[in-house]
């Protein structure tokens, strides 16, 4: 990292690990991951099912307790906080979930859902004022006032995701983990929600972690992109750089696999062999080596280090790094 520019870091994650015990041994869901996010920026985390991207998001908010490592939020190590302190801090750190069909309580109306956190945290005590704030939030996320008393089942996926966003915004957070927020939505609705999230970020100065498997969405949405593979971060760079010059063989394969909606697009597709396996008791070798077209002897014997190969461009690879 260039030392001469002082960056305004909101979130600093250091050596984060989250292991799960399974009958077959320890599953290293997130294995020694470190990264930083500047205030007001978006970090996209991409990878395939089971790579640990959602576990990172949840561990940062301590919805899952990290096995080890530090999460420093706005200068404060939140892994050292007790339950009550953490609860208070969560006002500043929110999450939006993938599935707007299961993340809302079916027995609560739109307004009750958005109001609940305001009530729980005792932010606005006065009922009238609280109503005002709910209406204001509904307007921010583009929910019509007539939907105030409707239930989630009466609404489509796009509107439900808007409720999730309004609820997250209710606490005036600084930071939101967006876990596949548009994956369940149709493209025309997806674009509406992405634009909404962009506008809110610009207005409120929010910092996002944007977790997704959709590379074209993350390219559009994030300032920096981190690529995960079997619990490890294998590459991280500013979005433009990552798409123009992917270094890690996995990133290259991932980018080449995106079906591009342009019939004149020419790209050599790298088709990988095999599939991702679970990182249960992983050996200290490169976790991608078994599927990697460039794997050499060294890859089968030691695990590559996550290094900065160019300014702001980090890669973990023996061969290309």
């Amino acid at each position: 990292m260039s030392e001469n520019v002082k960056k305004d870091i909101l979130l600093d994650v250091q050596h984060l690990k989250k292991y799960f015990s399974t009958p077959r041994g320890m599953l290293h869901a997130v294995d020694d991951v470190s990264f930083q996010i500047e205030r007001g920026k978006t970090l996209g985390i991409v990878g395939e099912s089971g790579c640990g991207k959602s576990t990172i998001g949840r561990s940062i908010l301590r919805l899952l307790e990290p096995t080890s490592g530090k999460v420093i939020f706005d200068g404060q190590d939140i892994t050292a906080l007790n339950k009550n302190e953490m609860r208070a801090l969560r006002q500043k750190m929110q999450i939006i979930f993938q599935d707007p069909f299961s993340s809302l309580d079916p027995r609560m109306t739109v307004s009750q859902t958005i109001e609940e956190p305001l009530k729980l945290h005792g932010i606005i005590k006065d009922k009238k004022q609280r109503e005002q704030r709910v209406l204001q939030l509904m307007e921010t996320v583009g929910l019509a006032e007539r939907l105030y008393d409707t239930y989630p089942h009466e609404l489509d996926g796009g509107r439900r995701q808007r409720i999730g966003i309004a609820r997250a915004l209710a606490m005036k957070p600084k930071f939101i983990v967006c876990d596949e927020p548009v994956s369940a939505l149709d493209v025309s609705i997806q674009a509406q929600i992405l634009n909404l999230m962009e506008d809110i970020q610009a207005k409120e100065g929010l910092t996002y972690i944007f977790i997704t498997h959709d590379l074209s969405v993350v390219n559009h949405f994030a300032d920096d992109i981190a690529v995960m593979y079997m619990g490890r971060m294998v590459e991280k760079a500013p979005s433009e750089k990552l798409f123009e010059n992917p270094i890690h063989p996995y990133t290259q394969a991932l980018l080449s696999a995106i079906p591009v909606p342009d019939i004149h697009h020419q790209m050599k597709r790298i088709v990988l062999k095999g599939e991702v396996t679970s990182p249960i008791e992983p050996k200290p070798i490169c976790r991608f080596a078994a599927r990697c077209p460039y794997a050499c002897d060294q890859c089968m014997h030691s695990e590559p280090e996550f290094k900065e190969v160019e300014p702001d461009h980090w890669v973990a690879c023996h061969v290309k790094g």
Binding site: D186, V187, S188, A191, L194, L215, P259, P261, I263
Partner: protein
């Protein structure tokens, strides 16, 4: 030998409804669709556009209590599936037993979710062999051998035929489903969002495989998807579906380079541009109309930037803009092929 270009599938004026006590859902509204032998057609559209209903109608698998074929005919390789009786009513041309012989034999379907398409209590080998034995005269031994060959064909070691579905990953299960679908060399393969549940690198593998098989066996493919990227890669022709109608149809070049319908354009504009990452997305405003209460005019009018009173008053007149390019939009009622968006 001259190439056979007769239609493999021909759907004419098809109208399908779902009727319940409370409402009538107009799922498919007067669509026409033709796939020539060895060609692949992409059917693209968003949730609720009627894509899957169209596929189910071809196989005569509509839910019995609610699904109604109101009008239209369907022919498969020149053989009628849905036909008109003497009074002009659309009726099934085949008995249930006859249809069973067609499904899985002449036409096979791959569903979106491989996790639910396989029976968890039988080995994958037995499940593929079952399909073979149902349709072909062969001994159980031969069927088993065929199952093994099919697994090898989709890139799974034949020795894994004795494994159960839960022992396979998602991508492998989808390969098993594809192996089963192809076991009887179908002339038409209907793939309903075959890779939506898969990761991108696995999706790439499965798409490559379907492409290879299509080349090798000359199978016609109906590819149902919401992903224009997959269409660009896999199909010869495209039909864009909206609220039960085909609003635009043409060759890949017609749809991607000479986009004419405002909805098709809207779909393209909603996608992030991989070459210009900072370009703001242009979503289509609003939502698809309630299919149980479609407007009397153009179903897209409420979301369309070009809509006029004409669009709201009555259905657009369908027009061919060229020999291959069809559009269902009031903007082109004079039949001139020029970009009006």
């Amino acid at each position: 030998m001259e190439k056979d270009t007769r239609p493999m599938l021909e759907i004419k004026d098809l109208v399908v409804e779902y009727r319940t006590e409370e409402e009538t859902v107009q799922a498919v509204n007067d669509i026409n669709l033709t796939i020539r032998k060895g060609k692949s057609l992409g059917l693209v559209g968003e949730t609720g556009a009627g894509k899957t209903t169209t596929a189910l109608t071809i196989l005569n698998l509509l839910p019995e209590t609610t699904g109604r074929i109101v009008d239209g005919t369907i022919a498969l390789d020149g053989d009628p599936i849905i036909t008109k009786d003497s009074s002009g009513k659309s009726v099934a041309a085949k008995t249930d037993v006859e249809m069973q012989k067609i499904r899985g034999n002449k036409v096979a379907m791959i569903f979106q979710d491989p996790m639910t398409a396989l029976n968890p209590i039988f080995t994958v080998g037995d499940q593929i062999a079952e399909a073979v034995q149902l349709h072909q005269k062969c001994t159980p031994k031969e069927a088993e051998k065929r199952a093994e060959e099919m697994l090898e064909l989709v890139g799974i070691p034949g020795s894994r035929k004795t494994d159960y579905p839960h022992q396979f990953s998602g991508g492998m299960k989808q390969r098993v489903v594809i192996a089963m679908a192809l076991a009887c060399n179908p002339a038409l393969l209907i793939a309903d969002e075959p890779t939506t549940a898969l990761d991108v690198t696995v999706q790439a593998q499965v798409l490559e495989m379907i492409k290879e098989l299509k080349e090798k066996f000359g199978t016609s493919v109906l590819m149902i998807t919401h992903d224009l990227g997959i269409i660009a890669e896999m199909c010869d022709e495209v039909s864009v579906m909206y609220a039960g109608s085909i609003v635009e149809h043409g060759t890949l070049e017609d749809i991607f380079d000479r986009t004419r319908h405002p909805y098709t354009r809207g779909l393209f504009n909603s996608l992030p541009n991989i070459k210009d990452r900072t370009a703001r997305l242009k979503p289509i405003r609003g939502l698809m109309p309630d299919p149980s209460n479609l407007p009397k005019g153009c179903a897209f009018a409420d979301r369309c930037d070009y809509a006029t009173d004409r669009c709201r008053e009555g259905k657009p007149t369908k027009r061919m803009l060229s020999d291959t390019h069809f559009v269902d939009c009031c903007l082109y009622e004079d039949g001139k092929d020029e970009d009006r968006l």
